[in-house]
C-alpha cells in the first residue's frame, strides 16, 4: 500500500521550466491581466491582514494558535457540506463552507482557552490536543461524506485547500472585507490589545474584560485563517500569521512600527509570491508566498536594524574594542602617572616597560598585544618594540581624558549614589553629556582635593567594573 504523500511522488519526472518573456513579466508585475490582478491583489490583502493580526499573536506568545485553528476548521467544512447537502443543493457553496470552517475553528480555539484555564494543561498541549482531535474528527466526517452514495463531494478538500490560481471576484471581496475588519480592530483596539499582550494581570485589575479581548483577537485570527485557507492552503496560512510579524520584530522596538512593517512584509510577500507563481509554471502560489516571507524573515534575522544578529554581534564587538582601548590607555596613563609621581613631576608621556603593563592588571600578554596592535592602528601608540612602549601625542591626550572622565564618574557614583542609579548604564566616556556642568565642576573640585595619585585599581582590579558598558 502506498501512503498518499508517497503516491504523489510515483509520478515524478523532471520537465524543464519555460521561462516567461519580459513582456509577460511586465504584464504580470503591473497587474494587467484580470485574472492575475485578482489573485495578486487578493494574496496581497491577505498578507496585510495576517501580518497585522499575527503581530498581536506573536506578542501574546500564541503564534501556533493559527496552526491549531486551521486544523480545527476541517470538521466544520465536512459538517457544513452535510448540512447544505441535506437541505438540497450541491453542498459546495463557498460561503456556507467557510461559515462551517469558522464555527469549528472558533470552537477549537475556545476549547484551547477553556482547557488551559481550567486545568493544569499548558497552552502548547492544549493546542496539540485540539489540533489533532479536531483534525481527526474532520477526517472522520469527510471520509463519511466521501462515501456518501449521492456524492458530489469529490474534490471537497481541494475546493478548500489552496487554489490560489482559481480565485474569483467573490474571494477577493471576502478577503478585502476581512482585511478591513482586521485593520479597523487593530486601530480601534490598539491600546487594549497592547495591554492584553503585555500585562494581562494589570489589565484585569483595571477592569478590562481580558477574556473578551482575547476572544476578539482570536476571532480575528479565525477570520484571517478561514479566508486564507483557500488562498494559500491549510498549512501555509499558518506561516502568514507568524513569519511577517517575527520578521518585523527585528527592525523596531516600537509596537506601532512593528504593526505597519509586519503588514507591509505580509503584503509584499503576497504580491511577490503570487506574481512569481503566475510567471513560472508549476509553482504553487501558496508555497512561493511562504518562501518569500521566509526569505524576508531570514534577511531580517541577520540584518534587522534593531535586533538583527549582525547588528547585535557588531555592537558587542565594538563595545569590546572600545572598552579594551579605554582600559589600555588608562592603564598606561596610570603607570606613567605613578612613575612621574616618584620623581615628583606631573604626569608626562614617558616610555613604560611592557612588563609593568602586564602586571598592572592580570591581563594575558596575547590580549594586551592585540589591544596594542589596535591602538597602534588608531595612532595612539608611538612606538612599541616588545619591551617598552610609548603613547603618541594624541594617545597621551586621549589617555588623560579617559582617566579623568573615569575618575569623575567614579566619584559621582560614590558621592551621589542615590541619583547615580538612573545613570549607571550611561557611558562614563561622555560624562559631560550626561551630567550637568555644575555637577562636573563639583566633581572636578573633589578630584583636585583628593587628587588620588593611587587609583584604587591597584588594590582591587575586580572593583573596576566598566561603568561605561552600554547595555
Amino acid at each position: 500500500m502506498i501512503p498518499p504523500p508517497l503516491a504523489a511522488l510515483t509520478s515524478l519526472h523532471d520537465t524543464g521550466a519555460d521561462w516567461p518573456s519580459l513582456d509577460v513579466v511586465w504584464r504580470v508585475l503591473t497587474l494587467q491581466d484580470y485574472n492575475t490582478r485578482l489573485v495578486v491583489m487578493s494574496t496581497m490583502i491577505l498578507g496585510l491582514a495576517s501580518g497585522l493580526v499575527g503581530c498581536f499573536l506573536l506578542l501574546r506568545k500564541r503564534s501556533l494558535m493559527g496552526d491549531a485553528l486551521s486544523h480545527a476548521t476541517l470538521p466544520g467544512i465536512g459538517l457544513a457540506f452535510i448540512v447544505m447537502a441535506s437541505m438540497g443543493g450541491t453542498g459546495k457553496h463557498l460561503v456556507g463552507l467557510l461559515v462551517g470552517a469558522t464555527v469549528t475553528g472558533v470552537i477549537g480555539v475556545i476549547m484551547v482557552l477553556v482547557v488551559r484555564n481550567t486545568s493544569r494543561i499548558k497552552d502548547d498541549a492544549a493546542m496539540g490536543i485540539v489540533l489533532s482531535v479536531f483534525f481527526g474528527l474532520g477526517m472522520v466526517v469527510l471520509s463519511m461524506v466521501l462515501s456518501m452514495p449521492s456524492g458530489h463531494a469529490a474534490g471537497l478538500e481541494s475546493f478548500i485547500y489552496g487554489k490560489t490560481a482559481s480565485m474569483i471576484m467573490q474571494d477577493f471581496l471576502l478577503l478585502s472585507g476581512v482585511a478591513a475588519i482586521a485593520l479597523l480592530c487593530s486601530l480601534l483596539l490598539l491600546k487594549e490589545f497592547t495591554l492584553l499582550c503585555f500585562d494581562e494581570g494589570f489589565g484585569r485589575s483595571q477592569g478590562w474584560p481580558i477574556h473578551g479581548l482575547d476572544i476578539i483577537l482570536l476571532g480575528l485570527v479565525a477570520l484571517v485563517t478561514v479566508v486564507g485557507l483557500q488562498a494559500v492552503g491549510l498549512i501555509l496560512i499558518i506561516a502568514f500569521l507568524i513569519t511577517p510579524a517575527a520578521a518585523a520584530r527585528f527592525w523596531t522596538n516600537d509596537l506601532r512600527n512593528m504593526l505597519i512593517l509586519s503588514a507591509l512584509i505580509g503584503g509584499v510577500s503576497g504580491w511577490c509570491g503570487a506574481s512569481i507563481s503566475a510567471l513560472l509554471p508549476r509553482l504553487p502560489a501558496g508555497a512561493v508566498i511562504v518562501l518569500v516571507a521566509a526569505a524576508f524573515f531570514v534577511f531580517s534575522l541577520f540584518f534587522g536594524k534593531t535586533r538583527g544578529v549582525v547588528r547585535t554581534r557588531l555592537a558587542m564587538y565594538r563595545l569590546k574594542r572600545k572598552v579594551g582601548r579605554q582600559h589600555l590607555l588608562r592603564a598606561v596613563y596610570e603607570i606613567q602617572e605613578a612613575a612621574c609621581a616618584e620623581t615628583g613631576k606631573p604626569p608626562a608621556n614617558i616610555a613604560i616597560p611592557f612588563r609593568d603593563l602586564l602586571l598592572h592588571r592580570s591581563w594575558s600578554p596575547a590580549h594586551v598585544r592585540q589591544d596594542l596592535r589596535r591602538a597602534k592602528n588608531e595612532d595612539h601608540i608611538d612606538q612599541f618594540d616588545g619591551q617598552s612602549l610609548r603613547l603618541s601625542e594624541s594617545g597621551f591626550g586621549e589617555a588623560a581624558r579617559i582617566t579623568r572622565n573615569h575618575r569623575l564618574w567614579e566619584i559621582f557614583l560614590i558621592t551621589h549614589a542615590d541619583i547615580a542609579a538612573s545613570h549607571v548604564d550611561r557611558d562614563a566616556d561622555s560624562v559631560e553629556h550626561v551630567l550637568s556642568p555644575d555637577m562636573v565642576r563639583e566633581l572636578e573640585q573633589r578630584l583636585d582635593l583628593d587628587s588620588i595619585p593611587e587609583s584604587p585599581h591597584y588594590i582591587s582590579p575586580q572593583k573596576d567594573r566598566p561603568h561605561d558598558m552600554v547595555r
Partner: protein, 315 residues
C-alpha cells in the same frame, strides 16, 4: 458487526503506535513542546522529496532516512532561530516547519506531472490498509499468523523508545524538570534535548509512513496530557499514557466500525477515529480526574479543609 483477524491487527498496530508515541510524548508535554510532533510531521516533506529525487526510487528506507534527518533539522533550526534571534519558541517552530513544508511542496510539484497535489494529504493515513502488506508469516499450532509490516516497524520503534527511556530515565526526568539543574549535575541538557527530538522525529516519520501522521500527532500529545491529569509521578505517567493510548486505539477502531452505519453512512477512517477517541478520553479525565479534574476542583474550591482545625503547633 463482524470482527476479522485484520481488525485485531489494526488494533494491535494502533496500540503499538500509541506505545511508541506515549514515551517521548510525555516528555514533550512536560517540556511544553507538544507542538513538535505536528511541526516535524509537516516539515519532513522536503526530506521525502529529496530522498526520492536523489535515489530515484521509492525505497522506504532512504525516504525514512531523508525524512528523519529533516525531522531532526526542524528541531535544530527551531533552537537556532529562537536563541539567535530571541524569537519565541512557538513562533520559530512555526516558521521552520511551514517553510520546510512549502519547500517540500515546491520540490514535489516542480518534478511531478500533476500539479494538483493536496497539501492536506500529508496528514492522512490509512491504518486499515496496513494489514495487506505482510512482512512475516509463521505457524502457531494450526493457524498461520501473518504479521503486517506496519506491526514490525512500529514494534521496533516502540522498543527503540522504550530502551532509550529506560536507559536515560533519570537524565530525561531531570532535564525535563529543570535543564539548568541538569547542567549543574553534569548532564548535558542539550544532548538530552536532541535525543528526545531524534526520538520524536524517528517515531513521527516511521509511524507517519505506515499509519498516517494524524494518529502520531494525537498519540504524542493527548494520552500524555490525559495521564498528566491523573498522576504526578513520571513513571506512572509514562505507563498510563501508553495504556490510555492503546485503549484509544482499540476503542477508536470499534467506533469507526460501529458509528457510521448508525447514522447512515458506509464507513469512515480509523485513523481519524482513533485521534477522536484520544480526545474523548482526555475530556473524561479533564472533567472527572480525581485530583486535577474540573469537577473535583469546582467542588474542592468551595470545600476546603481547614489546616488549622486542630490546635496550632506553635500556640
Amino acid at each position: 458487526m463482524t470482527w476479522f483477524v485484520d481488525d485485531t491487527w489494526i488494533v494491535i498496530i494502533g496500540a503499538l503506535t500509541a506505545i511508541a508515541c506515549a514515551l517521548p510524548g510525555c516528555f514533550l508535554v512536560l517540556r511544553q513542546m507538544s507542538m513538535m510532533g505536528d511541526a516535524i510531521s509537516h516539515a519532513v516533506l522536503p526530506g521525502l522529496a529529496i530522498a526520492f529525487l536523489v535515489t530515484g526510487e521509492r525505497a522506504s528506507f532512504t525516504m525514512f532516512i531523508g525524512a528523519a534527518v529533516v525531522g531532526v533539522l526542524t528541531a535544530v533550526f527551531t533552537q537556532w532561530i529562537s536563541s539567535l534571534g530571541k524569537v519565541d519558541r512557538g513562533a520559530s517552530m512555526g516558521i521552520v516547519f511551514t517553510t520546510l513544508f512549502a519547500l517540500g511542496l515546491l520540490l514535489i510539484v516542480q518534478a511531478a506531472d500533476h500539479v494538483d497535489l493536496d497539501p492536506g494529504c500529508v496528514l492522512y493515513g490509512a491504518i486499515e490498509m496496513t494489514t495487506l502488506d505482510v512482512a512475516w508469516e509463521f505457524q502457531l499450532g494450526e493457524t498461520w499468523i501473518e504479521v503486517p509490516r506496519a506491526a514490525m516497524v512500529l514494534g521496533s520503534v516502540a522498543l527503540f523508545n522504550l530502551i532509550i527511556v529506560v536507559a536515560f530515565f533519570k537524565e530525561l526526568k531531570i532535564s525535563a524538570f529543570d535543564p539548568e539543574l541538569a547542567t549543574t549535575q553534569g548532564i548535558n541538557a542539550n544532548f538530552m534535548h536532541y535525543l528526545l527530538m531524534t526520538q520524536v522525529a524517528v517515531t513521527t516519520v516511521a509511524a507517519f509512513e505506515v499509519v498516517g501522521s494524524i494518529i502520531v500527532i494525537a498519540m504524542l500529545v493527548t494520552p500524555a496530557a490525559t495521564a498528566h491529569l491523573l498522576t504526578d509521578r513520571l513513571g506512572l505517567m509514562l505507563l498510563l499514557s501508553a495504556i490510555i493510548g492503546a485503549l484509544a486505539a482499540g476503542l477508536g477502531h470499534l467506533l469507526a466500525i460501529v458509528i457510521p452505519p448508525l447514522i447512515g453512512f458506509d464507513g469512515t477512517t480509523t485513523s481519524g477515529m482513533m485521534a477522536v477517541t484520544t480526545g474523548l478520553l482526555f475530556v473524561l479525565a479533564w472533567l472527572f480526574a480525581p485530583r486535577y479534574g474540573w469537577i473535583s476542583r469546582l467542588v474542592s474550591r468551595k470545600d476546603v479543609k481547614s489546616p488549622f482545625s486542630g490546635p496550632l503547633p506553635s500556640d
